[in-house]
Each structure stands twice: as structure tokens, then as C-alpha cells.
């Protein structure tokens, strides 16, 4: 069916290139993530980055107190 669909087209290579690229890309991303990022501690660190802040909040009247990511 695939060949029939493109029977009059000289551009059959392009969908195949698309297929090849996406498969290669996806395999690459999986390898990037699952082989490169295996340290659970590091994963937790990265996942918690928005919560990792010890901020000081100051109003015009002066310091009002600390504000951490978790408490905010």
C-alpha cells in the first residue's frame, strides 16, 4: 500500500528520511536520558531545583523574613 500511495511520486525518499531521522532521534534521546542519567540522587537534585532556594523577602519597610522554596 505504501508503494502504491507513492507510485507516481519521486519524493518517496523524504518520508523514509523522516522515519529514519525520528527513529534515530528517539533512540538517541532514550540513550541520552536512560544511560546518561542513572544516578538517583542526581535525578532528585535536578527534579527539586525549583524548590531549592533560600530567599530573603524584603519590603519597603525592611526585611520581613526568609522565604524558602518549600515554604513559599
Amino acid at each position: 500500500m505504501f508503494q502504491e500511495f507513492f507510485s507516481n511520486s519521486t519524493l518517496l525518499a523524504w518520508p523514509l528520511v523522516g522515519l529514519l531521522l525520528s527513529v534515530a532521534f528517539f533512540v538517541g534521546v532514550l540513550a541520552f536520558v536512560f544511560l546518561g542519567l542513572r544516578d538517583r540522587t542526581r535525578i532528585h537534585e535536578l527534579a527539586s531545583m525549583p524548590l531549592d532556594s533560600e530567599e530573603t523577602v524584603e519590603s519597603r519597610d525592611g526585611i520581613r523574613g526568609g522565604q524558602t522554596g518549600r515554604a513559599s
Binding site: W14, L16, V17, S22, F25, L51, Q67
Partner: protein, 812 residues
């Protein structure tokens, strides 16, 4: 702004810019919703156009969409990005000056849009309507934003780049590419231009842009914000960081290919349609991966759903994201698109995303952010709860009514009787059937609009009960050391070389037109997997390599850019190359040299006459393409209703293309010759004269506004530079031909007791409409068409004066 001591330094965040963007987000949000209510009312009650050309649906609709996308969501995006980027990188934005230039420049763009659209100044391309001087302003502002952002990245005090930052990077680079390519144009004046692409090329580039404006302006920024603000609101780390990485890369790589799904069953080449469809379906996976990652981040915090309106808004927003990203791929399946395309289903789909995902995400962020920016608590949780419920009900009324209306329209249009003919040949009957749903949509929109006032009041009172606060953080005085490996060493590492090689090899095969056998394909994949596994066995090297990419902003940006360029290149380059092979002109000398060209010559598209071009520019100016398509799909029911299906060569000379994406009215691809000039005149003066149930605005101003033929001659000369085959003779005789063709129309009308000036816009528009679908063939006199008995025609007494002498350029 950094006070240094021996070991630590204090970084003071710039939250003034966040406060400014947050405030203006609310203001533009109310405006965008109000405009939405007005255009929805115009579809329910045509009188809501108030007979004013500046308020007609075709001019206000772009204002509504641009206000919603670029003003409301855009400013909300900037607010969120400026807030989260500083905290994730533990550094103040690199330049306050650039931050404020970004703010005021963006507001200037929006004000310019608000002025230019009602005046009819447009490029005639959906979501890219801004005229070229404003486009340049957008580019300058975006560059300012990009420089400030990447400069901030360069001076950051946090070594790692959190996944939200990844989404921001992809947004910045991709929007730059999309906006510049889709707005390549040749100006004819300060307020008018023609895009360099025409016909099918323009269609592909436009929907490559249009779809990815949704992807990289309405999806990746809110996703980045979701990964920050949802984590903050839930006080839980991201459910799966690894999933977020897969989500990011898969999403940006796949999204860029999906544009052609807006052009299924059109004259776009089949291979490009298939690519668009397949990649859209593949998008299901990363989109739902992101949605699940967002929702599961709330694990252990679901109790907050009962008490915290912020979490409520986030949960519904992410749920709508999941629903929209399910519906989008579904609509991209060719057989589903056959039913849903051009109908209100698409409007329902778009608003599920815009109202449910984008707006609720923005509302949630604002409710979380504003109290913190003013060092206080939210003024009223109950009001926020009320806003949530009013908004949710409004969205549901809107979306469900459009689903019902859209599916009904699709079924109505395609219904055939036992003999195989149209069961419902009267298009306007279908529109009448949708009236109740249009009213429901309007009610839903009104609810959503009213809900926004609750937001305004609540945030205003919150700001009033608090005071602007300054937030600072202590960071190590010395910035994290850069990784020793240079970007060049990283780019030449084994995994990078392997991936680059594979991409180059694939593109080379495609460019050479080679037919890769399945065996060769399988072999390449097996080799690639084997190489990765082999390299991956050395865990330390992989971990090191991962860290290098994640921390090196420049390399990361280049890789993201490469990921988004591949899809666009594979689809656009062959289309441009193939379309350029279509002959635009075959002369007698060419036929003498090659007699076989004589047959081809019959089908070579002829450029529009000066009068027709003037009419076309007016058609574009008025936004007629927003309700009328010019693309008949190859279905029996469409061919029966509109005529032979549209072919690619018919619109090759169209700058810009006008295929449209919605049929509130009929397709006009072959309307030429179907009705006589009087019918068109009456229809434009008041559509109810020929179609009693029509909701189209009146275009009485066409009768009095005039066209300067000299302007049209200049525009023809500009089109020559774009490849439109006007000859020197065409240009020299343009004025004369303009007048003679106009007189044919005005004489015909005069014989039917209608007086019309030859230089009126009405004459030009009638000429253009009569030309549609009759391109390569010699123009024949339009046959008289009987006017429906149900439409009594009353012709007002006419005067014989010419139109006012003040010439107004056609189009813009």
C-alpha cells in the same frame, strides 16, 4: 546589584519587571476576552458589526486571536519566564534596560496591532497578519529578549539548567526561525507587502509557522512554566525528571513536522500531508508524557485540590492540555480531518487549548505569583474559587457547543441522498442549524469574560493589601567553574558525531532521491542502537557527556535549533524545489522549440488582471479568508457543491495564498461565473438580499471607496519580482486594462439599474470574485443566475455620480 562578601554574595532579583508583565497580562487578557465575545456575537447576530467596516468580523477576528496569543499569553509568558529564570539560575536578569525594552517594545507591538487591524492593514495570513514594519519591531523586541535571556544564562550562578529553562530556550530560537521565514516579504508601500512564497509554498510555510506558533508560543513556554510553578505550588519535585527530558526532546523534534495536517486533502503534495499526519499522531506520546508528568507531580498533594484554587487551575489546565493534545492528533488523521476540517470542531479544539490550557495556566500562575510579588496572601480564595468555576463552565459551554456544531456541519455538508447527490444542497441551511450552538458559544464566552473581572478585582485587592517586595538570595561569590571541555570538544565527541553523521546521511539520501531499502534502513537502525549500547556500557562516560550537554547552554541551544530545523527543512525544501519546476509562462517561442509544451500551455496559470488584483487585495484586507475557503477537496460532496477539486497550479501565483481554514460561508474557489455581477453587488451590499439567513457583514463601503489604478500597477511590478509573469506590456497597459474591464462590469450593472463607479472597490471585488476558478481558461461572460425566490431583491434608487475622488489604495 550584587553585594559581595568573602564567600557569599547577595543576588537581588528584578521582580519589578515581573510585576509589570503580570499587570499588563491581566489588562490584555480582559481585552482579548472582550474581543472574543464581540466576534462570537457577530457570528450569532450579524448586526453586531454595527455596519462599521472597522468592526467587521474579518478585521476584528485577527485582533482577537493576536490579543489572546501575543498580548495575553505572551505577556503572561514573559512574567513567568522572568520570574522563574532568575530563581532557577540564581541570578538577576543580565540587563534591566533590556528587560524594560522587552516590556515596552512588546506593548508597542500590541498597540500597533490594535490600531492596524481595524484599519484593514494585514498580510492576510492567520496569526501572522501584522504588516511588515510591525514585523520588524517584533523581531527587534524578540532579539532584545533573547540577548537578555542568553546573557543571563552566561552569568548564572547555578551550574545545571533545569528543564523549564530548556523549554524557554527552544521557544526563543524556534519562534525566531518561524517568524522570520514566514514573514519574508516584499513591501509595496509602508503598509502593504506581498509574501515571497506563493500558492502551495506559501500554504506550507504558513501552516509550518501557524502550527508551530501554537507549539512554541502556546505550548513550550507554558510547559516550562508548568515544570516550575506547578512544582512550587505542589511543593513536590517533578514526578519524573527523566520523563521531562524525553518529553522535551521528543516534543520539539516532532512538533515541527506536524504543520501539514492543516492542509490535509488540499493541493499540498500527498507525501507532505502524510508526513504531517504521521508526526501529529506521534505527538500523542510526548504530549501525554508531559501531561502525566505534570499531574503526577501532585502525588501526595492531591488534598490541596480541595482548598487551593491555584492547584485547581493548574490541574484543569493540564487536563485540557491532555485533551487538546489528544484531539489534535485525532483531527490530524486524514479520515477524521475529512469530517472536521473547515468546521466549528476546529474552533472548539483551538479554544479547548487556548481557554483551558493557556488561560487557566496563566490564571494559576497569576494567583500564585501576585501575592508573592507583593509580600502578602491572596485577597480572597473564595473569589478565586468562583472564578475557577465560572471559567470552567464557560469553557465547557464554548467547547461542547462547537463540537456539536462542527460535527453537525461536517455530516450535513457530506450527506448524499440515495441517488448520490447532495442531500442538503443549501449551505446556508447548515449555518441556520448552528445558530443555537453559536448562541451557546456566546454565552460561554461571556461567562469566561465575566470571570476575568473576578481575577482583576482579586489581584488588585491583593496588590493593595501588600507592598512590592524585594527578594534576594545568597549564592557563592565565585560562579561555578565552567566544564573544562570546550564546546568544540563536545561537538566532536563520539555520540555527537554519530548523531550528526546520521542526520547528514539521511538528508543526503533524500536530496539524492535514493530509495533506501528496508534492509538498509533496518541495518542503519541496528548499527545505531549497537553503537549507543556499546558506548552506554561505559556509564561514567555517558553520565559525563550528559552533564556536558545539560550544562553547556550554547551547545544545548544549537542542538535544540538543529532538532527544530530538520523537520522544516525536510518538508519545505522539496516543496519549494518541486513547485519551482512548474512553468509559470510558456511563450510561442518555447512551443516552437518544443511542440509538446502546447498542451501544457493550456494549463499555465494566467496572472490576475489589474482590476482582479485590486479586488484580491481588498479581499485580503477584509479578512474574507477567515470565513471563506478557496480549496475544494477531492470529495464527491465537495465537487457536487463547489465544482471540480482545486489543483496546485491554480494558486501558484497567489501572494498570499487564500485557501482558508474555516467555512462559515461557502468555498469560493470556483465561484467565478456562478452568479452574475448584480448578484455579487447585492450580496456585498447586504448579504441578506441574496441569502436571508446569512450572518455575513455588509460591505457597503466598497461602493464609495475607490482604487488608485497607479498603485495597482506598482504592485504588479513588485509581483514580477516574485516571479508572477506580468510582461512589460501588462505593466504599460495596466491602467487602460483596469478601466476597460471595470467598465464591462459597471455597464452590465447599469443595464440592471445599478450605478457603480468603475474606480470603486466594489467593481474590483466583483471582478476578482468572477475570476475565481476561471484562471487558465479563457474568461467567458458570466451566465445570469436566477435569484432565489425566497430572497426578494430591492434595488435602491441609484445616483449616477462617480465615487468620491479621494483614491484609496486597494488592499491596504
Amino acid at each position: 546589584m550584587e553585594a559581595t562578601n568573602t564567600q557569599m554574595k547577595t543576588v537581588v532579583y528584578d521582580d519589578a519587571i515581573v510585576r509589570a508583565f503580570s499587570t499588563i497580562t491581566v489588562v490584555w487578557g480582559v481585552v482579548a476576552f472582550l474581543l472574543g465575545v464581540i466576534v462570537a456575537a457577530q457570528l450569532s447576530f450579524w448586526q453586531a458589526n454595527f455596519g462599521l467596516e472597522w468592526l467587521s468580523f474579518g478585521r476584528l477576528r485577527p485582533l482577537h486571536t493576536n490579543a489572546a496569543i501575543f498580548a495575553f499569553v505572551g505577556n503572561g509568558m514573559f512574567a513567568g519566564i522572568y520570574y522563574s529564570t532568575q530563581r532557577l539560575l540564581k541570578v538577576r536578569m543580565a540587563s534591566d534596560l533590556l528587560s524594560w525594552a522587552n516590556f515596552w517594545g512588546w506593548q508597542l507591538v500590541i498597540v500597533c496591532a490594535a490600531i492596524s487591524y481595524p484599519l484593514g492593514l494585514t498580510q492576510g495570513k492567520e496569526y501572522a497578519e501584522l504588516i511588515w514594519p510591525i514585523d520588524l519591531l517584533v523581531v527587534v523586541v524578540w532579539v532584545v529578549f533573547a540577548v537578555n535571556f542568553f546573557w543571563t544564562l552566561a552569568i548564572r550562578n547555578e551550574k545545571n539548567l533545569y528543564v523549564a529553562i530548556w523549554f524557554y530556550i527552544s521557544t526563543i530560537v524556534t519562534i525566531a526561525v518561524l517568524y522570520i521565514v514566514n514573514n519574508l516579504q516584499l513591501p509595496t508601500s509602508l503598509t502593504h507587502s506581498y509574501p515571497i512564497f506563493g500558492g502551495v509554498q506559501d500554504a506550507l510555510v504558513q501552516w509550518w509557522y501557524g502550527h508551530n506558533a501554537v507549539a512554541f508560543f502556546l505550548t513550550t513556554p507554558p510547559l516550562g512554566l508548568m515544570y516550575y510553578f506547578m512544582v512550587k505550588a505542589a511543593e513536590r519535585p517533578v514526578y519524573s525528571y527523566r520523563l521531562s527530558v524525553v518529553h522535551f526532546w521528543s516534543l520539539i523534534f516532532l512538533y515541527i513536522w506536524a504543520g501539514p495536517h492543516h492542509l490535509l486533502y488540499t493541493a499540498l503534495p500527498d507525501w507532505a500531508q502524510t508526513l504531517g499526519m504521521v508526526f501529529s499522531i506521534m505527538l500523542w506520546a510526548p504530549s501525554w508524557g508531559g501531561m502525566l508528568n505534570g499531574l503526577l507531580t501532585l502525588r501526595g498533594s492531591w488534598d490541596k485540590l480541595r482548598t487551593d484554587p491555584v492547584i485547581k487551575f493548574f490541574v484543569v489546565a493540564v487536563t485540557f492540555y491532555g485533551m487538546s493534545t489528544f484531539e489534535g492528533p485525532l483531527l490530524s488523521i486524514k479520515s477524521v480531518s475529512a469530517l472536521g476540517h473547515y468546521t466549528d470542531w476546529i474552533i472548539g479544539h483551538v479554544h479547548g487549548g487556548a481557554l483551558g490550557w493557556n488561560s487557566f495556566m496563566t490564571f494559576g500562575i497569576l494567583y500564585w505569583l501576585v501575592p508573592r510579588l507583593y509580600g502578602t496572601k491572596l485577597y480572597s480564595t473564595k473569589l478565586a474559587e468562583l472564578h475557577f468555576w465560572v471559567g470552567t463552565i464557560g469553557i465547557l459551554m464554548y467547547v461542547v457547543s462547537m463540537w456539536v456544531s462542527g460535527v453537525s456541519q461536517g455530516l450535513f455538508w457530506r450527506a448524499l441522498d440515495a441517488e448520490g447527490f447532495l442531500k442538503y444542497p443549501d449551505f446556508i441551511e447548515g449555518l441556520s442549524n448552528s445558530t443555537a450552538m453559536y448562541h451557546t458559544r456566546l454565552l460561554g464566552g461571556v461567562l469566561f469574560f465575566l470571570g476575568s473581572f473576578l481575577l482583576v478585582y482579586n489581584l488588585l485587592m491583593t496588590a493593595r493589601q501588600g507592598k512590592p517586595v524585594t527578594v534576594s538570595v545568597q549564592v557563592p561569590a565565585r560562579r561555578p567553574a565552567a566544564d573544562r571541555e570546550s564546546a568544540w570538544q563536545l561537538l566532536t565527541s563520539a555520540p555527537m558525531m554519530f548523531m550528526m553523521g546520521l542526520i547528514v546521511l539521511s538528508i543526503w539520501f533524500g536530496a539524492a532521491g535514493s530509495m533506501l531499502s528496508p534492509v538498509l534502513l533496518a541495518l542503519l537502525i541496528v548499527i545505531s542502537v549497537a553503537m549507543i549500547i556499546s558506548y552506554g556500557l561505559q556509564q561514567k562516560r555517558w553520565g559525563h557527556w550528559y552533564g556536558l550537554i545539560e550544562r553547556n547552554a550554547l551547545v544545548f541551544t544549537l542542538l535544540a535549533l538543529l532538532a527544530i530545523l530538520v523537520g522544516g527543512a525536510v518538508e519545505i525544501i522539496p516543496t519549494v524545489m518541486a513547485s519551482n519546476k512548474v512553468p509559470l509562462q510558456i511563450t510561442e517561442q518555447m512551443i516552437a522549440a518544443d511542440p509538446a509544451l502546447a498542451e501544457t500551455a493550456k494549463w499555465v496559470q494566467k496572472p490576475y488582471s489589474p482590476l482582479e488584483l485590486a479586488g484580491r487585495d481588498i479581499y485580503v484586507r477584509e479578512g474574507c479568508y477567515l470565513c471563506h475557503s478557496q480549496m475544494i477537496r477531492p470529495f464527491r460532496h465537495e465537487v457536487l457543491r463547489y465544482g471540480e477539486y482545486s489543483r496546485m497550479e491554480e494558486s501558484l501565483l497567489d501572494h498570499p495564498f487564500q485557501w482558508g481554514s474555516k467555512r462559515t460561508g461557502l468555498d469560493l474557489a470556483r465561484v467565478g461565473g456562478k452568479y452574475d455581477n448584480l448578484w455579487h453587488y447585492l450580496h456585498l451590499m447586504d448579504p441578506r438580499q441574496t441569502s436571508p439567513a446569512s450572518n455575513m457583514p455588509t460591505y457597503k463601503h466598497f461602493k464609495t471607496a475607490t482604487v488608485d489604478a497607479a498603485v495597482i500597477t506598482h504592485r504588479m511590478a513588485v509581483q514580477v519580482k516574485l516571479g508572477v509573469p506580468y510582461t512589460d506590456e501588462d505593466l504599460a497597459l495596466a491602467g487602460q486594462r483596469y478601466a476597460s474591464q471595470a467598465e464591462l462590469i459597471t455597464d452590465d450593472l447599469a443595464a440592471k439599474s445599478v450605478t457603480l463607479a468603475p474606480n470603486s472597490e466594489m467593481t474590483a471585488v466583483i471582478a476578482y470574485l468572477q475570476r475565481l476558478g476561471r484562471g487558465p481558461q479563457p474568461l467567458e461572460p458570466a451566465p445570469p443566475a436566477p435569484i432565489p425566490a425566497a430572497a426578494p431583491v430591492t434595488i435602491a434608487p441609484e445616483t449616477t455620480e462617480a465615487a468620491p475622488a479621494t483614491p484609496v489604495a486597494a488592499g491596504n
